[in-house]
Symmetry: C2
Subunit: 203 residues, 2 copies
Amino acid sequence: MSETRQYQTAEQRRDRAVAAVVELSATENPAGLTTARIARRMRLSEGALFRHFPNKDALWEAVAGWVAGQLSQRVAAVADEAPDPLAGLEAMFLAHIDFIARHPGVPRLMLGELQKPAGSRARRLIERAMGEYRERVQRLLRAGMEQGRVRADLDPAAAAVLYLGAVQGLVVQSLVAGDMQAAARAAPGVFRVFRNGIVERAA
Amino acid sequence: MSETRQYQTAEQRRDRAVAAVVELSATENPAGLTTARIARRMRLSEGALFRHFPNKDALWEAVAGWVAGQLSQRVAAVADEAPDPLAGLEAMFLAHIDFIARHPGVPRLMLGELQKPAGSRARRLIERAMGEYRERVQRLLRAGMEQGRVRADLDPAAAAVLYLGAVQGLVVQSLVAGDMQAAARAAPGVFRVFRNGIVERAA
DNA sequence: AATGGAAGTGAGTATTTACTTTCATTCGGG
DNA sequence: CCCGAATGAAAGTAAATACTCACTTCCATT
């Protein structure tokens, strides 16, 4: 009879819990988030939260999975439709920064995960996502070299580290400034300097 | 009579406490360090630790001060004796990575501080150190532009972000790999790509 | 040798926090 | 419409942790 259910399904609740964590992380230290705080944000009791996640680690794992999934999905989408490797790198870069600017809690969450002991499932998800990301950057760099648009003497591994560093540099600087929008504004300029470091100088 | 005192002075204890935190942070999440754990590492009772620091925050402040001091000191030393701006940038870069490779807990501590609320004294120390660091990089970049060795169309602010990002990229990649020595090995190659992005191409 | 202050100990304590338990309410299929 | 399962609230628990306190040990100075 009722148009809208009063109870939400378990999956909806899990999604909302992840969203709550991401939102709270925008203004608070994720490491300090308590289950009570997260539940309150969802307008749910603490006990009900534990009905949808067996324990707190499982919640963190869900959060890490969401972050990793969103990032690779968005990044893959723009990279695939770019006309050439350099344009692909730039599109990925801007998409990444745009995603973070929209969800300022994400970098804090990722940096927080990397502090945890190496074996944790949440951490492994983040590690894998970063690895795939770096692979993708290196593939584009090599493709650019084959097309003669990227310097032939480039070390793709080193350049990929610098590329990820460009993202992280923007993020950390904005974290310090407390303004993630600043990252989005500064991103094109930073990418331009990076690009200068890898392009084949016009003959 | 006694060659060595049995009790240490307050200052010695404070220094050793900071060292203990830095050492422990190399293998454990700094956010999870307890006062009991830190005291045990120093072979001291928890009560005695609190005789030298009024509270835990004061200990973190001392740690942040040590990190900030070490970094600016080492970096300033090598930058000042470099023959030209580009050499100075490279020397700073390598000195920074070398310091971190020697104290693998340092990046975790710094990233952890940046998660804390904006007002904390420890965090302000880190913020100031990073600000001075970026200023120094920008000064060198501008000096290089005046000498014609750095591209005239460079945006020094964007390049400084990329420079810091290069450091952070190396650090985060090594944090993921769990091997800070890797950062030291990869550093020269990464700096080379950065350098390509800023040098004036030979006429 | 006596003394007083600095350094140290070890056993608390109040609070926080992840997780549990108990019971009430709501949902959907037969 | 009824019953079992799913969802929820509220109160509780055991463990962890920052910090305190009463008391002891060391040692430089007089």
